[in-house]
């Protein structure tokens, strides 16, 4: 057996590498979007791809999101595997009609004859001091749209692995990139990076016995931090990283909650009508008699994402998570 050489790398680097490897492995993979070519994207995720694979494989498009996604639909119809970059979360909204009415429905419409293997990369979420429209967590929209896979990495290895899996998928995948983790580093084996297969599996990032934090994307590191802090309070928290919102890994999540008997869902997206409601409801449906307390939610407030100077009040942080854990009716135990 070879020893695995782990090296520090950023999520951005892993994403770029995943694109490069996918393009090298399959000439059908084409990247398109605003500024993805010469510039390498505003976050430089497509850096170097146009140079290495040519302008036709990594294409700067005119500035029109519906046009980009609509063109990708046509490209996929002809056997390509388009990887679309939406420049920021809120700038994917002009493409919503194409996404909801075509991308999500074409396979079903044609009884499987016309699948659309499109990956839609969307940098999402806040925490980078972006002005309005640059920090939305729009996953609730995509979750409520059958026909789409929705995945989001929280680690460097998953960023690589999920993106490879997304591009390899014969279904459309909304690939949500937690933009404030782009420059987060962790150890990774760049010499033998692996796709995450199958997509759709959650992973327990930290085992614990007192309660489960169910989370994903940018909130995973926050939850891990909260779990560390919770030790001082005598709580041993388990942290489940969903990785995939659609399909949802009931098995892993429910197994954890059944073990711990308590759960808090944590995400940046707004609370009302957000992912947490679905997650709390389905966990409760499946684990009701194991629950010592209702599944609670720690989420963004139900407001338009605040301006940079106020975002720290909005984002779920360690304290807010611990407050929720404290409300899990521990008194009932003693």
């Amino acid at each position: 057996m070879t020893t695995v050489a782990l090296k520090p790398a950023t999520m951005a680097q892993a994403l770029t590498r995943a694109l490069r490897d996918a393009m090298a492995a399959d000439p059908a993979v084409h990247v398109l979007g605003e500024d993805v070519g010469t510039l390498g994207g505003v976050f430089r995720i497509t850096d170097g791809l146009a140079k290495e694979f040519g302008d036709d494989r990594c294409m700067d498009t005119p500035l029109a999101e519906a046009g980009i996604l609509g063109a990708a639909v046509g490209m996929a119809m002809y056997g390509l595997r388009p990887v679309v970059e939406m420049q920021f979360d809120a700038f994917a909204y002009p493409a919503f009609e194409q996404l909801a009415s075509h991308v999500a429905k074409m396979r079903n419409r044609t009884r499987g004859k016309m699948p659309l293997p499109i990956t839609i990369r969307i940098p999402y979420g806040g925490g980078i001091g972006g002005v309005e429209h640059h920090s939305d967590s729009s996953e609730a929209y995509y979750m409520a749209t059958p026909g789409l896979h929705v995945v989001t990495p929280a680690t460097v290895a998953d960023a690589y692995g999920l993106l490879r899996a997304a591009i390899a998928s014969d279904d459309p995948v909304v690939f949500l990139e937690p933009k404030r983790l782009y420059w987060s580093k962790d150890s990774w084996n760049p010499d033998d990076p692996q796709p995450v297969e199958p997509m759709g599996r959650a992973v327990v990032r930290r085992t614990g016995t007192s309660a489960t934090l169910i989370t994903y994307g940018p909130s995973v590191p926050v939850c891990l931090e909260a779990a560390e802090a919770a030790r001082a309070e005598g709580w041993d928290l388990e942290v489940v990283d969903l990785r995939s919102l659609v399909p949802f890994d009931d098995e892993t999540v429910c197994a954890s909650v059944r073990r711990t008997g308590r759960a808090v869902v944590v995400h940046e997206a707004g609370s009302f009508g957000g992912p947490g409601g679905e997650i709390a409801a389905r966990v409760t449906e499946r684990c009701f008699h194991y629950l010592e307390a209702p599944v609670l939610r720690v989420a963004g407030f139900d407001i338009p994402y605040p301006p940079p100077m106020l975002e720290r009040y909005h984002l779920p942080g360690v304290d807010r998570i611990l407050d929720a854990v404290a409300r899990l009716q521990w008194e009932a135990e003693s």
């Binding site: 084409h30 040519g54 302008d55 036709d56 294409m59 700067d60 498009t61 005119p62 029109a64 519906a66 046009g67 996604l69 609509g70 063109a71 990708a72 639909v73 046509g74 490209m75 996929a76 119809m77 002809y78 056997g79 390509l80 388009p82 002009p94 009609e97 194409q98 009415s101 075509h102 429905k105 074409m106 396979r107 079903n108 419409r109 044609t110 009884r111 499987g112 004859k113 016309m114 699948p115 059958p146 026909g147 896979h149 998928s169 014969d170 279904d171 759709g200 659609v246 399909p247 949802f248 009931d250 098995e251």
Partner: protein, 379 residues
């Protein structure tokens, strides 16, 4: 050179040295819709083509009538007739090669059928047993698109992909006058122009978007004038003149195939029937207007020409009518059979593999249906 490099890397010189990139003059449409039938040009038209067009026009009209009748018998959920527009529908199919692609809008069942799709499969959407009934790859016909103009960027993407792969495939996309107002129309034409994608956009200007007349839809000299804003040629054609539409579209297809890029064709026509069987056109237009257009009927125009040239006589007309009746009878018969239905299909095609959640729901429905069946049996 890559496709992107083929387009010169234009940037405006500083204004003192300004030059327009493209000469706009050749992009502008003629002042009048192009016509062939009834003009000298018709004499040179290929008799075989004219006869084929004629037959298909008559079949198409009969199909429209039959499908509308099927709505009354509850055999179709709804039918948007293209009566009066058959010349556009048929020419759109005839101008393409086998390897080309057609992107129809919801009104374009005739074009789909004229391209070779099974006439019953073409009606699946409107019958309501599924969303689309034919395999798009069999005849290279995209599903009928209900959300207006949204299929236009698909055509552009497909054509561009074909070009990237080195295939000389052309895509023809159909849209209505109303659909030209949608943002997707704009984005599609612009992408096509920038990419020089081999696409032909056919706008059937039939005067109305449901009840809304063209004057409330646009103030442009013509819809074809929109082309110059994308740097592509715009062509205006009499949409009831099958020979003219066929010629203009064929030219545009040839141009696209040769690497000349997209063309926008506006065919001026008229929707003789109501928007669909569910619509009441008397609420928004006078019969007198319809009568004016009836006098400019695409079938009559072609029939007159063929007769004049001695390419068609009464027997010929009767033979085509008979063929149409036979087609209608077959369609009627087949449509009167119940569509095979399996509720489990609802779960089968949402993803390549049903998600665990869908499997659960599928099992739930299966159990419900079984319980229902048992109850029925018990009764």
């Amino acid at each position: 050179m890559t496709v992107m490099e083929q387009r010169s890397a234009y940037r405006p010189a500083p204004p003192p040295a300004w030059q327009p990139r493209t000469d706009p003059a050749p992009l502008l449409p003629d002042a009048e819709p192009y016509r062939v039938l009834g003009t000298k040009k018709a004499e040179k038209a290929d008799p075989e083509l004219l006869r084929r067009l004629y037959t298909q026009l008559v079949l198409g009209r009969r199909y429209n009538v039959q499908a509308t009748a099927l709505t009354k018998q509850g055999r179709l959920a709804v039918y948007p007739s293209s009566t009066g527009q058959e010349a556009c529908e048929v020419a759109a199919a005839f101008c393409l090669e086998e390897r080309d692609w057609l992107f129809p809008s919801y009104r374009d069942t005739l074009a789909v059928v004229a391209r070779g799709v099974d006439p019953v499969e073409a009606l699946t959407l409107l019958r309501g047993d599924w969303h689309s009934g034919y395999d798009p790859y069999e005849h290279r016909v995209a599903p009928l698109s209900t959300p207006l103009a949204t299929q236009l960027p698909h055509a552009v993407g497909l054509a561009h992909a074909a070009r990237l792969k080195g295939d000389d495939v052309v895509a023809l996309a159909m849209v209505g006058d109303g659909g030209t107002s949608e943002g997707d129309f704009h984005e599609a034409l612009n992408f096509a122009a920038v990419w020089q994608a081999p696409v032909v956009f056919l706008v059937q200007n039939n005067g109305f978007a449901i009840s809304v007349p063209l004057a409330k839809q646009t103030a442009a000299p013509s819809l074809a004038h929109k082309a110059v804003g994308y740097g592509i040629p715009g062509r205006l054609v009499d949409g009831n003149d099958a020979a003219a539409v066929h010629e203009v579209l064929s030219d545009a297809v040839r141009h696209a195939r040769a690497g000349g890029g997209p063309t926008l064709v506006e065919a001026v026509t008229y929707r003789i029937d109501a928007h669909t069987n569910a619509d009441d056109a008397t609420r928004y237009r006078d019969d007198a207007e319809v009568e004016v257009w009836r006098a400019h009927d695409p079938i009559q125009l072609l029939e007159r020409e063929l007769t004049k040239r001695g390419l068609l006589d009464e027997d010929g007309v009767a033979a085509v009518r008979e063929e149409a009746e036979a087609m209608a009878a077959r369609l009627r018969e087949r449509m009167n059979q119940d569509a095979p239905l399996d509720p489990m299909d609802m779960f089968a095609h949402v993803y390549a593999e049903p998600t665990p959640q869908l499997r659960e729901q599928q099992e739930q429905l299966r159990a419900e249906l079984e319980a229902e069946a048992e109850e029925e049996e018990a009764r």
